[in-house]
């Protein structure tokens, strides 16, 4: 390791957030995952979250490597199983904020069942999906989100399957916060992650991102910059968009924004409420008495209000400085 490396490891603005001893990372030039990690770090910093109480769980694949690079309690699990591991972690230690970061193949191919059930339960976790329409780690195969006609190594004549529209799926399954951005919209991703941190319940953020080495190349779509240009041209933010209308075709328009934000008791709250109703004072989850549970809920509610105020303040300041969001109306 030369001096430059050494300096980089200590002085990088990300040093506080990343396991610098593990750099360089494995991601290709032009890949969108790094943007998501940066936005995530930014969101953590801005949210003033206690990083000791923040855990990241990933599955397998390129995005699955995120857990290995963040300087947090982090679990790199089996293919598709990040969400049930996160579920166990959250329920065993409800003080934690648990974030799943994984790819489209991992979360919606092999892990699809876990996603729909965690959303149904309104499990209080944040799921960030980097959707690059392909299995990158294994060489560019078809995923459940690959648009029709797109070329993948296992659909060498073009894809003939119907893809999932992830926000629609999440909404239908009961997710209470749903947003989509592209990796061009780093600031929006950051804001969305902050909102999700502050949201009580299952939060899903999809980030459309380029896989330059496989998806872009196989489909003759150019490099990372070309992908960002495509997002610039075709990604549109809207208000009050119905998640039924956000499907993505090959190189089509990409509708973005915060699609869903609704209040519903989380799994943990539902457990507490039901047990407390039926069992009264006999109920003591992990030894917590009723007053302790109520006190905890009150503290959390206060914290959410405080965070929401911070978010809004920040937003107002950005707008005032006119360096605000990338798109009008966000």
């Amino acid at each position: 390791m030369n001096m430059n490396d050494q300096t980089f490891r200590v002085e990088s603005p990300m040093a506080e957030f990343l396991r610098m001893e593990r750099m360089p990372h494995i991601w290709c030039p032009g890949c969108g995952i790094g943007t998501v990690v940066n936005s995530f770090a930014e969101a953590v910093k801005k949210s003033n979250i206690d990083m000791d109480k923040l855990a990241v769980v990933s599955g397998i694949g390129c995005t699955g490597r995120v857990a290995g690079y963040v300087k947090l309690d982090s679990l790199h699990t089996t293919h598709g199983r990040a969400i049930p591991v996160a579920t166990g972690l959250k329920l065993a230690n409800p003080e934690l904020k648990v974030v799943v970061v994984s790819g489209d193949g991992d979360l919606f191919g092999i892990g699809g069942n876990h996603f729909i059930h965690a959303a149904r339960r309104n499990m209080d976790i944040v799921v960030i999906c980097v959707n690059n329409f392909t299995y990158g780690m294994t060489g560019g195969q078809l995923t459940p989100t690959t648009p029709q006609t797109a070329n993948a190594s296992t659909t060498p004549y073009g894809n003939y399957e119907y893809p999932f529209s992830l926000p629609f799926l999440a909404d239908a399954c009961g997710a209470t916060y749903v947003a989509r951005w592209t990796s061009l919209h780093a600031r929006n991703i950051t804001k969305s992650i902050r909102e999700a941190f502050n949201h009580k319940g299952f939060s899903f953020i999809e980030v459309i991102a380029p896989c330059t080495t496989l998806y872009q190349r196989r489909n003759r779509l150019g490099d990372g910059l070309d992908a960002l240009n495509y997002y610039k041209e075709e990604a549109e933010v809207g208000q009050e968009i119905d998640t039924r209308d956000v499907g993505i075709d090959f190189q089509s328009e990409i509708r973005m924004g915060r699609f869903v934000k609704r209040d519903k008791p989380t799994y943990y709250e539902a457990v507490n409420e039901r047990y407390a109703n039926v069992l009264g004072d006999d109920y003591q989850l992990y030894g917590m008495s009723k007053p302790e549970r109520e006190e905890k809920a009150r503290r959390e509610a206060e914290e959410r209000i405080r965070m929401q105020a911070l978010l809004e303040e920040e937003e107002a300041r950005l707008l005032a400085e006119d360096i605000g969001t990338d798109e009008e109306g966000v």
């Binding site: 000791d52 049930p84 166990g88 329920l91 047990y275």
Partner: protein
Amino acid sequence: MRKSAADPKGVLSGSHFLDGDHALAEGALAAGCRFFAGYPITPSTETAERFAERCPAVGGLFIQMEDEIASVAALIGAAWGGQKVMTVTSGPGFSLMMENIGLAVMTETPMVIANVQRAGPSTGLPTLPAQQDMMQVRWGSQGDYRVIALCPDSPQECFDLAVEAFNLSETYRVPTFIMTDETVGHMHEKVVIPPADQIGVVGRNWYQGPKADYRPYQFTGKDVAPMVKAGDGYRFHITGLTHDERGYPNLTVEQNEKVVTHLIEKIDSNADRIIRLDEDEIEGAEVVVISYGITSRIASRAVQLAREAGIKTGSLRLITIWPFAEKRIAELAGKIKGFVVPEINYGQMVREVERSAAGQCKVVGVGHCGGAVHDPEEILAAIQEAAK
């Protein structure tokens, strides 16, 4: 590892009339298990049901997951969240669990998994007993590794071994299995649950040193590193990839050798401490019947008949299945005419006996198809053959 008294909150002290499945749940609660993730499957569901009913007042949480893959995944998360964790299943679910059992082995995550065995292959005979997963528990997930597996032959032992399984699992940071079967699972018998202060429980070995020095692993082949839980500021990392002491991936042959030999040696080098056997009239025996689980109760009748017929017959019941009692069996093999090994499968543990006996004496297997227990006469005939 030091034992302390059980938390009285989870201990239902007294005499009960329980089936084996329910006794498993009581054993888990007595051992301090406060997190159970499961998926319904005959004939194991009663354990999950009992835990679900009992846990709110004991301070635990039950979650019914979407499948058995998710159940073991949730256990891994919950264990690193600081809880003692358990699930229960049977054949088809056990197959699904194999993936994350491998992750638990690799990340050295303590957990207890009970397999109330039913007859296979596939859906097989859901409501009838078998002992056909004895090798699956040993070899079922990919790669080289060791686990611990115990085999109760009564509801009382379901309780006792559930406590023991948690203690072993915490001591060696390894998934520990209770390989029972439909008959023991659904058999009602008297189960005595001792007062909490008479139940020895091994707690999690929490790391005590400076935060910056914490390493989730040590590859000594003897001891395991202490654990921490998420949220306490250690910023630990775990992965199913080959990893170093920090838990960071290190994808080299050398590191894989370090990790794998540790996973193997931490069990093998402690085998004498782990293994428990129930021996009866071994001294001077011509024939020793080696059995486990429900089959040992049938075998005891055959042993009785053989003794009545004048054959000096000893009985060796395997309470610990894995690691296998190869040393003891090799020792006996030099002194007797033969072993008889009845089991409800067509030859699984008998091969381990053959391997251990290494040609020093006869080994007569008594296979049986799944769905029913042996007739004692079949075992008696094998004893007579071994005594020739």
